[in-house]
């Protein structure tokens, strides 16, 4: 008897689900300080329009999206995706092609933010950082970052080939504009790995974005590469971490909709909302990542602007991540990196 009543309840719940799904959407983000800023800038204001936002965190594993799409059981509606994955996923049919007329005027956005399957959410940068309380005169260039005589101590680097090879080449004297040209050749890749090898004994690897500020504060490393927004978040808690913008590599994160999403229209509406100048400006006030909607910049004060990777002073000596290069060479270089790192 108890069993059968359970069954009735379960069946009722199942039949109710589609009705509920109309009024809520599932938004997937990368968690941490970034998720908090999204909650304040995107989710909470959007819920006032009558749609509940269920926030889910992930670490960018595309396998989860692939399984959903392949089994035709898509439960994620708007997903934050890194640029290489959005391009690859678009080619391989993981994401819906977007109807830009429902999102906004393409001309309002940075050119890089407009793609077939993805809408730029924000611009972020991988930069060098150090603790201003412990190191008065910090590194000025990547060559300084590599200089273990002048700055003894460990360096935090993100585990993987991406960014580190670019930084190594810049430390070896390659001009930012030539980095990808050099890296594309066998000799250039050898040179980058050789330069990375000079630091090998002094590297502390990090994987999650929250780790490098912790390393700096705990004194585990003297300097580190880091996502610029995480430094901003730590400084809001009273730390004095410094960023060196020279030779930083900036990139965008995108909204994408998994292919076959039954809730696609609602997801598009949410993405359109999150791409408005107001929502984008509010996001930038909560974490120091640059808006992709150009009109958002006018709504920000000078202090906020000075911390964004998109501000002219910070972007002057920065480098844009070369998507095509990493789409082609990524697999090979990552495997070589794995071999280099384990031996």
């Amino acid at each position: 008897m108890r069993n059968s009543s359970c069954l009735v309840v379960a069946l009722a719940a199942l039949t109710c689900l589609p009705a509920l799904a109309q009024k809520q959407i599932t938004v997937v983000n990368f968690g941490g300080a970034n998720a908090n800023a999204q909650k304040k800038a995107f989710y909470e204001p959007y819920e006032k329009t009558g749609t509940r936002v269920v926030a889910v965190e992930y670490n960018g594993e595309q396998a989860k999206i692939k399984v959903m799409v392949d089994s035709k059981n898509v439960t994620w509606d708007a997903v934050e995706v890194e640029s290489p994955d959005v391009a690859r996923g678009c080619d391989e049919g993981l994401f819906e092609k977007l109807d830009w007329s429902k999102i906004g005027n393409k001309a309002d956005f940075l050119p890089a933010a407009v793609t077939d399957c993805g809408v730029g959410v924000f611009v972020w940068s991988t930069v060098m950082a150090w603790d201003g309380d412990k190191l008065k005169a910090g590194p000025r260039t990547w060559a300084d970052f590599w200089d273990t005589k002048k700055f003894p101590g460990k360096r935090g680097l993100r585990k993987g080939a991406r960014y580190n090879l670019e930084f190594a080449l810049m430390a070896d004297g390659v001009k930012p504009a030539d980095v990808y040209k050099v890296l594309a050749t066998k000799e250039g890749a050898d040179r980058a790995f050789r330069k990375l090898g000079e630091l090998k004994g002094n590297i502390q690897w990090w994987e999650a974005g929250a780790q490098p500020p912790q390393f700096l504060v705990a004194g585990d490393v003297v300097m580190t590469t880091v996502f610029n927004g995480r430094i901003d978040a730590a400084n809001r808690e009273g730390k004095h971490l410094q960023i060196g913008w020279v030779g930083g590599i900036y990139d965008l994160d995108y909204w994408a909709i998994p292919k076959g999403d039954p809730n696609k229209d609602a997801a598009l509406k949410f993405i359109a909302f999150a791409s408005t100048a107001d929502a984008q400006a509010e996001y930038a006030r909560n974490i120091a990542y640059g808006p992709t909607n150009k009109h958002a910049l006018a709504k920000l004060d000078a202090k906020t602007l000075a911390n964004l990777p998109t501000s002219p002073a910070n972007a002057k000596d920065a480098l844009q991540m070369n998507l095509k290069f990493w789409a082609d060479q990524g697999e090979d270089l990552e495997k070589r990196f794995a071999s280099w790192a384990t031996n």
């Binding site: 692939k66 080619d91 049919g93 697999e331 071999s339 790192a341 384990t342």
Partner: protein, 422 residues
């Protein structure tokens, strides 16, 4: 049927009929027993054998090129690899790519070829997007199509990309399995070692075996005396203590790993205790390195060593040891020469169990180890979740499976017994 059996009613005068009836009854009993185990067999088939078969199939499956480029594969069949293929190959690839209805097929093709030759991704996708070539049709001469394709992307003039296509024309490939052991096929199909800077899995496999062997050894050193002590106690007390051994065994593995993080961190209980005893001046690094992984894995796997040892030891008559001592042996020599050899079966079973379970460990090294302590399963997860290269993930899984089977075969060879778990 019933009439027939009634007619052949057994009687002492008809031994053949009796034999038949007996055999029939025996068969019926067998069928009934089989029917009773059928649910279990079906369950095993569905949850164990079918997934393993699917995994092995995935490790050798290679459908992308054959599906997307059927015409090109045919044209390239007689290609000599020396120079750029004949113009018909260019016409065929244009026709093949143009005929793909779903861009996802082109994406899958680009991904597959890019693992073979970096750069193929942009070449394939760029060409796919540029199709159809303006001013060409099916009737355009092949040479003209070739020139148009070369003008579109000069990389079509490099043999490496064509080699990648020609090599993967078949629906099945040994490439993933070869990569899993740091080998590759060259353009002509000969097997060779990969370049030193691309060799990864050999080292990781060795590391996996190394960590597993160390964990097995630690479990044996800790488990043997404990099992011996338990076996000498009266059954009632032994049972109580056995529950103490089994409590961690019944606790979730994540809980135990989290507990070890609390204990082993530099501000943790272990370091505090050692410091307050003045045994060390500054905290030992016990976490995020090999030490933490081995400590935690030993703890988790210890019951798998103790249980088979205990069951073997309780079967060893204590009188043998007493006899040896009364015949003049020292207690230690008697233990080593009389008692220990009788427990070899338990040592073998326990060591094999612990070792086989160890080589598949993922969670513990991922949470307690550093980058140089990750075992093969970590790379299975990496290829599954991050790279979405499931062929490679399955090949590494197959490698683990093969290692397990080989170990089991060696065990049977050496001990000449079935695995006995008491």
């Amino acid at each position: 049927m019933t009439a027939a059996s009634a007619a052949a009613a057994p009687s002492a005068a008809d031994p053949a009929g009796l034999r038949r009836a007996l055999a029939r009854a025996g068969r019926r009993r067998q069928w009934r027993a089989f029917a009773l185990t059928l649910p279990l067999l079906l369950f095993l088939l569905l949850t164990f054998l079918v997934p393993i078969a699917a995994l092995l199939k995935r490790a050798v499956e290679n459908p992308e090129v054959a599906r997307a480029l059927p015409r090109t594969v045919v044209v390239l069949a007689d290609w000599q690899h020396a120079d750029v293929p004949r113009p018909e190959a260019f016409a065929a690839i244009v026709a093949d790519l143009g005929a793909l209805s779903d861009s996802a097929d082109a994406g899958a093709l680009a991904r597959r070829l890019n693992t073979e030759k970096p750069g193929a991704r942009s070449l394939i996708m760029g060409t796919y997007r540029a199709l159809p070539l303006e001013g060409t049709s099916a009737a355009t001469p092949a040479a003209q199509i070739r020139d148009r394709l070369l003008a579109l992307d000069a990389r079509w003039g490099e043999t490496a990309y064509w080699e990648a296509i020609a090599k993967n024309g078949s629906r099945w490939t040994p490439d993933y399995l070869l990569t899993a052991v740091d080998l590759r096929r060259d353009a002509h199909g000969a097997i060779e070692r990969v370049d030193p800077d691309q060799r990864v899995f050999g080292g990781i496999l060795l590391r996996t075996f190394g960590i597993s062997a160390l964990v097995t050894l630690c479990s044996l050193v800790l488990g043997y005396p404990l099992a011996y002590w338990l076996s000498t106690l009266p059954p009632r007390r032994a049972n109580v203590l056995m529950i103490v051994v089994l409590v961690p065994f019944w606790t979730s593995i994540l809980v135990r790993v989290a507990a070890w993080i609390v204990l082993l961190q530099s501000e943790g209980l272990v370091n505090h205790a050692l410091e307050s005893l003045h045994l060390i001046d500054k905290p030992l690094a016990l976490l995020f390195n090999r030490t933490g992984v081995v400590i935690s894995m030993t703890h988790i796997l210890l019951p798998f060593m103790i249980l088979p040892l205990y069951s073997v030891m309780t079967g060893v008559p204590p009188s043998y040891l007493r006899a040896a001592v009364s015949l003049g042996s020292t207690p230690l020599a008697a233990f080593a020469r009389v008692y220990v050899p009788q427990t070899y079966a338990g040592v073998g079973a326990g060591a094999l169990l612990v070792f086989i379970l160890s080589i598949g460990y993922y969670v513990t090294p991922a949470l307690l180890g550093g980058p140089t302590d990750q075992m093969l399963s970590y790379y299975v997860a990496q290829y599954t979740n991050v790279d979405v290269n499931w062929g490679m993930a399955c090949a590494l899984g197959a490698l683990l499976l093969a290692a397990t089977l080989v170990l089991y075969a060696i065990y049977r060879r050496v001990t000449k017994t079935e695995l006995s778990l008491g």
